[in-house]
């Protein structure tokens, strides 16, 4: 009973809030705060049920799969919901001030539309993480994609509009690829339920093609190399809180579906060769993204390319988690890494927003002398950087450690090399920025003061990114609930 | 095959004739105005025959009524649209064909 309400409120809470924020544009922040409260409560209820009673299933409408839609909450889903909630909460606090800073018509307009769009995004994510139905996942993907594109375009400048347009094309085409895959799957198996598919799906040409289509679409949405091209401009040109949401959460949504497909519904098709291909793309993403981040002129572009790189780590989970031996190590490692990256990236983009706010630009070479004036923001950036590099005891380290251990256990040492090189590259690009904080510039212009709530929110996320590593045992235990393989 | 089916067939053939005529007119007539003429007039009659044919096959009076409604609506719409296009063309100075080459 509690679980039912949790399911309902986690999705309908933000959804209704989005509608209300649209009807009452001036009450946006209040509505979002209320939604945050409701989802937090619902999440607590859900996590207690999951910890006590295992995987929770909600049969919507009282029907059950294959005819109806099932919602499902296992450890993985609960973890993703937690990350979503934390980051959305931080973004709510941050944006309450961010969009109010300039008192012109343009920013007033932006604030009015930010809230409903943001709440839609949140609802879409929650719905996505709870869904156990591949067609329903398509609808949530569209909801997610539209909200994300509209949020990017909210920045309103030329580059933002162009990158939003490109993002929309990629997102829509990817959704259609996914949907075509769903059609083929339905034609073959007569069900779109993840659990039932796991029993019904047998390797065969149709399902191979279907899965390839869905995977292709999702990889484009998850911006895995070489389908990452749309990400850096979109993430770099969006308003800061939006960039945080996109990098931390939106791309993870597609990744989450990939996990559900390859490790649950179609686990019989998850062969070592496929897994190695995923891993290889992930490795390429790590190297390519990091190398590009080293040469970006602007802070936000650097952070965006870092996202491209860090997403690569997530895909190392594929070759490592498929094995029985040490598989769970990699599984929990990859997902803890995901949470770590989400928190760290939020902190980084929010900080980048702060710096942009203080300096009026984010050209890295001119940041000397500005970053040491807002020390809290710099500190936040540094802490988040620790987690990105994977220095202990941050959560990034916890994730990397588990992945490393898994590859050592399985003798797949090539991933070890990639991960370590990736860490060093991450250190290099993080230090590119932090060095500016220590540069003494004789005639530093006085920066624009940053509202405290914006600084402290960024710092809180950074502290979370590090501190989460100290309690990483808890998510690892949580992830055992409903782990997809025996 | 009943007598009703036979009449339906004949009506449909008539409809087909008018549609073909309309289409030929659309393709072969020399200018916009005469093409409009062919399209709207012939097609409306063709549609009328088709509707009649379907009315004979209808299961209930309400279906007959709906079919009739469709015809009336299409008639009104195509008349209006035809008028609008012709009017606009005239306004923009598209000269009607007079048989003499310019």
């Amino acid at each position: 009973m509690t679980a039912s309400w949790s399911f309902a409120l986690l999705v309908l809470g933000p959804l209704m809030a989005a509608a209300l924020a649209f009807v009452f544009p001036r009450r946006g922040r209040g509505v979002a705060l209320a939604a945050a409260g409701i989802t937090a409560g619902a999440w607590v209820g859900l996590v207690r049920e999951v910890m006590a009673g295992g995987v929770q299933i909600q049969r919507v409408g009282g029907w059950s799969a294959p005819l109806g839609i099932d919602l499902r909450a296992d450890g993985l889903a609960v973890l993703m919901l937690m990350v979503t909630g934390l980051i959305s909460g931080a973004v709510t606090l941050y944006s309450g001030r961010y969009f109010r800073d300039a008192h012109d018509l343009e920013s007033a307009h932006r604030e009015r539309y930010f809230w409903p769009l943001f709440l839609f995004l949140w609802a879409a994510l929650n719905a996505l993480f709870l869904s156990a139905d591949i067609f329903n996942l398509y609808v949530t993907l569209e909801l997610l994609g539209f909200a994300a594109v509209a949020l990017v375009a909210l920045a309103g400048n030329r580059e933002a509009l162009k990158s939003a347009m490109r993002y929309l094309f990629v997102s829509l085409a990817a959704s259609l690829f996914y949907l075509l895959g769903v059609a083929l799957v339905y034609g073959q198996c007569a069900t779109v339920d993840l659990t039932l598919l796991a029993a019904k799906a047998q390797p065969g040409p149709t399902l191979w093609v279907a899965l390839a289509l869905m995977t292709g679409g999702l990889l484009a949405k998850a911006a895995l190399f070489p389908l990452h091209f749309w990400l850096p401009p979109a993430h770099a040109n969006a308003p800061a809180p939006v960039s945080a949401l996109l990098s931390a959460l939106v791309v993870k949504g597609a990744f989450y579906i990939l996990l559900r497909l390859w490790f649950e519904a179609f686990h019989s098709l998850n062969t070592p060769a496929v897994a190695q291909v995923f891993g290889g793309l992930g490795a390429a993403a790590i190297l390519w993204g990091s190398a590009n981040a080293l040469f970006q002129p602007r802070l936000k572009l650097l952070v965006a390319y870092s996202t491209v790189a860090q997403l690569g780590y997530l895909f190392l989970l594929f070759p490592l988690a498929a094995a029985r031996d040490g598989g769970f190590l990699a599984w929990s490692g990859g997902l803890i890494f995901l949470a770590a990256h989400a928190c760290a990236k939020t902190a980084m983009f929010l900080t980048a927003g702060n710096i942009l706010h203080a300096a009026g630009h984010d050209r890295i070479k001119d940041l000397g002398g500005i970053t040491h004036v807002p020390p809290i923001s710099t500190f936040a950036f540094g802490l988040a950087g620790l987690s990105l590099i994977g220095l202990p005891p941050s959560s990034g380290f916890a994730g990397k450690w588990l992945l490393l251990s898994a590859s050592l256990v399985q003798g797949q040492w090539w991933w070890v090399v990639v991960m370590l090189v990736g860490s060093l590259l991450a250190a290099a690009y993080v230090m590119r920025v932090l060095t500016r904080a220590f540069t003494r510039v004789p005639d530093a212009t006085a920066p624009h003061p940053i509202p405290p709530v914006m600084e402290w929110t960024a710092l809180a996320m950074a502290v979370l990114a590090v501190g989460f590593g100290l309690v990483a045992r808890w998510p690892a235990e949580l992830l055992r609930v409903g782990v997809p393989w025996p | 095959m009943t007598i009703l089916d036979l009449i339906t067939g004949l009506l449909l053939l008539a409809a087909l004739f008018f549609f073909v005529a309309g289409t030929v007119g659309l393709l072969r007539f020399p200018d916009l105005y005469s093409r409009l003429h062919a399209l709207t007039k012939a097609d409306n009659v063709g549609l009328g025959f088709a509707v009649l044919a379907l009315m004979l096959q209808a299961q209930s009076w309400s279906e007959v009524f709906k079919l009739g409604l469709i015809w009336v609506l299409v008639l009104a719409a195509s008349a209006t649209v035809c008028f609008l296009i012709g009017n606009e063309a005239l306004r923009r100075g598209v000269k009607p064909w007079t048989g003499k080459s310019p």
Partner: protein, 498 residues
């Protein structure tokens, strides 16, 4: 949680929390910051004293927390850790005092002291780590918290030095991470233990263990500045004097040396390491470093650079001690951990005083400085003589044990290395002392900065005097039961067993 566990955590948090609070203090609240600093340092000193007593009494200190499945964040105190933690705490106290005086009017003091405290937290954490993963955590934390100190001045030079420092240490850290992960996969998440934990693997994984040892030394050797991994150390001299002192005497270099001690004694076990044939290469590397560092030091005119190369050389005495089988060499190496610390910190304090008071940065500018600043120069002299190994100062004790140990173990060539190094030490220290005491002072000093009635600020003066006194004490009273030597003998006894 027992009182013992609380003591361990208290030692860490006494500096960690002060560091955090200081971070967010206003730049102007000078007095509060100083008080906090001294309070933290004092509290830590008290706690360490309690720990010292407890360990001596054979009490069991341990605390652990499972932060990843099967992975413990574990603190503990054995004789080895107490040795290092005591050294760093004592020296931190005096360095803090010194730093307060040194940085009196410079900007960004909150940032400086914040990282300063974090740095010491990391060092004590390294000392108190009870297993490999905890060691790794604090080792990396040390890297991160020292970087801001190195680049503190913000000049292009400082930034370059910082970049080089970070490049070396991060790559080293990555190698260490690999080694730790690999080792954990082989042996499981093991805790440090005297005489090592690899007994069971010796027969089956010989090659892997050898490779791992190489990786460990490579990773940790960066911080211990073993040639050719020493490149960062002279460059990092751009940091303010208190930082250099801490870096060389306590934190970074010492953490590296201590790490090698840990690996050899408490992870592999020195006897196992000998059986695997790992010690001779390590001894050779250490010897090369000793000679190379000394030779380079002779040709440096910049005082801090000369001291830096001297550090490169001296730290490898510790490594050398661990690389020779037998209790005597062990004693020599470990006691040098302490002795080198107090001697080198004194030297850096002295160098800092010269720079801060008179603007002297080069050896060639030091003519007659002994007459202008007699107390500082006296302390400097004591430490320099100790370094050379003049009896009865601290350096003599360590070198004597090392030599004895090498001969006992049958490695006579090591004695030659030691002798050569002592000669070189003399070659680069004695000219300084000669200039300082016996040459006439110039008419004007490069940049004089008067400090009232003493030859310099009292805080700057107190620290080197105290540490110089320690140098004398450690040498003269070496055989008493309250000396570093006594404690080191305890360790050696435990390591080699009855």
């Amino acid at each position: 949680m027992s009182i013992h566990a609380l003591t361990l955590l208290g030692i860490l948090f006494s500096s960690f929390l002060t560091g955090l609070v200081i971070f967010f203090l206003k730049e102007e609240s000078h007095r509060l910051r100083t008080w906090l600093n001294m309070l933290g340092a004092g509290l830590k000193l008290v706690l360490v004293a309690a720990l010292l007593w407890g360990v001596h009494e054979g009490k069991d200190y341990s605390w652990s927390f499972e932060f990843l499945p099967g992975l413990q964040l574990a603190l503990g105190a054995d004789a080895n850790s107490v040795l290092f933690v005591t050294l760093s705490t004592v020296l931190w106290f005096w360095t803090t005092l010194y730093a307060v005086g040194y940085l009196e009017d410079s900007p960004h003091r909150s940032r400086f002291f914040g990282f300063f405290s974090l740095c010491v937290t990391a060092t004590t954490g390294i000392a108190l780590s009870a297993n490999l993963i905890t060691f790794l955590i604090f080792y990396e934390l040390l890297t991160v918290s020292t970087y801001p100190l190195v680049v503190h001045r913000g000049t292009p030079d400082a930034l370059r030095g910082g970049r080089i420092y970070l490049t070396y240490t991060l790559i080293g850290g990555t190698v260490l991470l690999l080694a730790v992960a690999w080792f954990s996969r082989l042996a499981g998440p093991v805790a440090f233990k005297e005489r090592g934990v690899i007994e069971a693997l010796m027969a089956t994984h010989r090659g892997e263990l050898q490779l791992l040892f190489f990786l460990f030394v490579l990773g940790i050797g960066v911080k211990a500045a073993i040639v050719p991994l020493h490149g960062w150390l002279p460059k990092a001299m751009v940091a303010p004097a208190p930082v250099s002192s801490l870096l060389h005497a306590v934190a970074v270099v010492k953490a590296g040396a201590f790490g090698i001690v840990r690996i050899v004694y408490d992870l592999y076990g020195v006897e196992n390491a000998a059986k695997l044939g790992l010690l001779p290469p390590l001894a050779v590397a250490a010897s090369v470093t000793i000679i190379y560092g000394s030779v380079r030091a002779v040709f440096q005119d910049e005082l801090k650079k000369r001291l830096a190369y001297s550090t490169v050389s001296q730290v490898s005495y510790i490594v050398l001690g661990t690389a020779i089988l037998g209790p005597l060499a062990t004693i020599g190496g470990l006691v040098h951990l302490v002795h080198q610390g107090i001697m080198k910190i004194t030297l850096f304090f002295g160098a800092g005083n010269y720079a801060e008071t008179l603007g002297i940065h080069r050896v060639s500018e030091m003519n007659g400085v002994g007459r202008r600043m007699p107390l500082t120069t006296a302390a400097f002299t004591v430490a320099a003589l100790g370094m050379i190994g003049v009896p009865p100062l601290a350096g003599y004790v360590s070198k004597w044990y090392l030599k004895k140990g090498a001969i006992t173990a049958g490695d006579e060539w090591v004695a030659l290395v030691l002798a050569g190094s002592s000669l070189l030490n003399a070659a680069y220290f004695l000219p300084i002392l000669y200039r300082a005491w016996f040459l006439a002072p110039p008419k004007t000093w490069p940049r004089e900065h008067p400090f009232g009635k003493w030859e310099t600020h009292w805080m700057l003066l107190a620290a080197p005097l105290v540490t110089a006194a320690l140098v004398v004490w450690a040498g003269v009273f070496a055989e008493s039961s309250f000396s570093p030597l006594a404690w080191v003998k305890l360790i050696a006894a435990r390591e080699y067993g009855p």
